[in-house]
Symmetry: C2
Subunit: 243 residues, 2 copies
């Protein structure tokens, strides 16, 4: 921090179990470990990686929790078919490709799920149109308006987070969290790219007012026009139909 200038880059401070977990996850998700195949034994993995068996176990147990592998005593560790067995938790780890880039397919999938979940949450909210919720949302819109024009673009996580929270659907909320976890690791450029629609303050305004008067369809429409743009930027490649 002070006199001595920085010479080395920050050394890997991630635990060996984490690294192992990442390696195995990538191997499985990329398909280089075929579904149904048997992984080396814990002892062998430990030796290969040059680490303790306990570290191997921690990594394997976490992979098991995510539904990526099947562990049975006496037999070994079998690679599962993640497309049919894995839970949505692997998305959080799977978006990032080996080279550090984003997997556009997964991003599009997530954006689409975000869209339908948030639009439905908006619908539900318009159905109940509770006064306190509307008041809070209105205050948030006022705050948006007060922003200087050159304010940095953000995905409006507070707004949508509050909205999804108020609709009372735990699944939506947790799915939203999953995306927050991903967003945290994105570069600011990509994040800005995903924030298309964030500056449509008028749409936010109409959205809140539609909720206030209980106009379900209008509210859903506004939510769609705010959240849709980011998704549509990803859909370009899929314009051609299968003949």
């Amino acid at each position: 921090m002070t006199a001595a200038s920085r010479v080395v880059t920050s050394v890997s401070r991630t635990s060996v179990a984490d690294q192992l977990h990442a390696q195995l996850r990538t191997a499985i998700l990329s398909g280089s470990q075929a579904p149904g195949s048997l992984l080396p034994s814990e002892r062998e993995l430990a030796e290969q990686a040059g680490v303790n068996r306990q570290a191997v176990r921690e990594a394997l147990q976490r992979l098991r929790q995510a539904g990526l592998i099947d562990i049975v005593q006496g037999e070994g560790v079998r690679v599962g078919n993640w497309r049919s067995d894995a839970t949505i938790a692997v998305l959080l780890d799977g978006v990032f490709q080996a080279d550090g880039g984003l997997d556009p397919d997964i991003v599009e999938s997530l954006l689409r799920m975000r869209l339908v979940a948030l639009v439905d949450a908006t619908r539900r909210l318009a159905l109940s149109h509770r006064d306190d919720v509307v008041a809070t949302l209105r205050a948030m819109v006022v705050e948006m308006r007060a922003e200087p024009a050159d304010a940095p673009i953000t995905p409006r996580f507070e707004f949508w987070g509050y909205l999804v929270d108020s609709c009372g659907n735990v699944a939506y909320r947790l799915a939203f969290n999953t995306q927050l976890g991903i967003a945290e690791r994105l570069s600011s450029e990509v994040l800005a790219f995903l924030s298309a629609g964030a500056k449509l303050i008028d749409e936010y305004d109409r959205l809140v007012e539609a909720i206030a008067v209980g106009d379900v369809d209008a509210a859903a429409l506004e939510a769609d026009s705010i959240l849709g743009p980011a998704l549509r930027m990803f859909e370009i490649p899929s314009q051609t139909d299968v003949s």
Copy 2:
């Protein structure tokens, strides 16, 4: 298996790490471990549970992966705010209450997410209306028709699984898997309850034909009328509005 009749019930064959994981998860989700509070140290937990520290570590690492706790070296294990930090993976564990029953709120949340995800998947499929997909779906409906009237009610997982697979959205597929994982652990009575709409073969038929001709809205409508009933059975308690 042979002569000696069965005297004892199947003894708990779950690993100590699994039991520990379940205990801690319940404690956190139920709120008896307040968010922000510090858990006992690994060594202390191990002693309390009468197990080895390695087992404690495996359980804690899995809780960390699910976003339920925050572990920092030198400080300890801090309980997170699962509503804002946890990923959707905890649903798979969280639906089951301490008494073994289902948490109706979570079930409703999941059903609603299933509904919107599958309806949107249907939309996407109708947009592309690929011939091979339509052919497979038609064959599935024919098979449904061939069933005897007294066939056991099933949630038609194969149908919806294939549908969600064909629409190309990984997030939908994984969310679907999460629900499969839950369904596996449900009693047959509850499962039948959740299968409301499974016998609406005519609706399934119209759904497939709407996809075949690319009628997006009609397809979505049919999907909704098939999947909606199960959800609506859960919504009864929430008919009264907040004044």
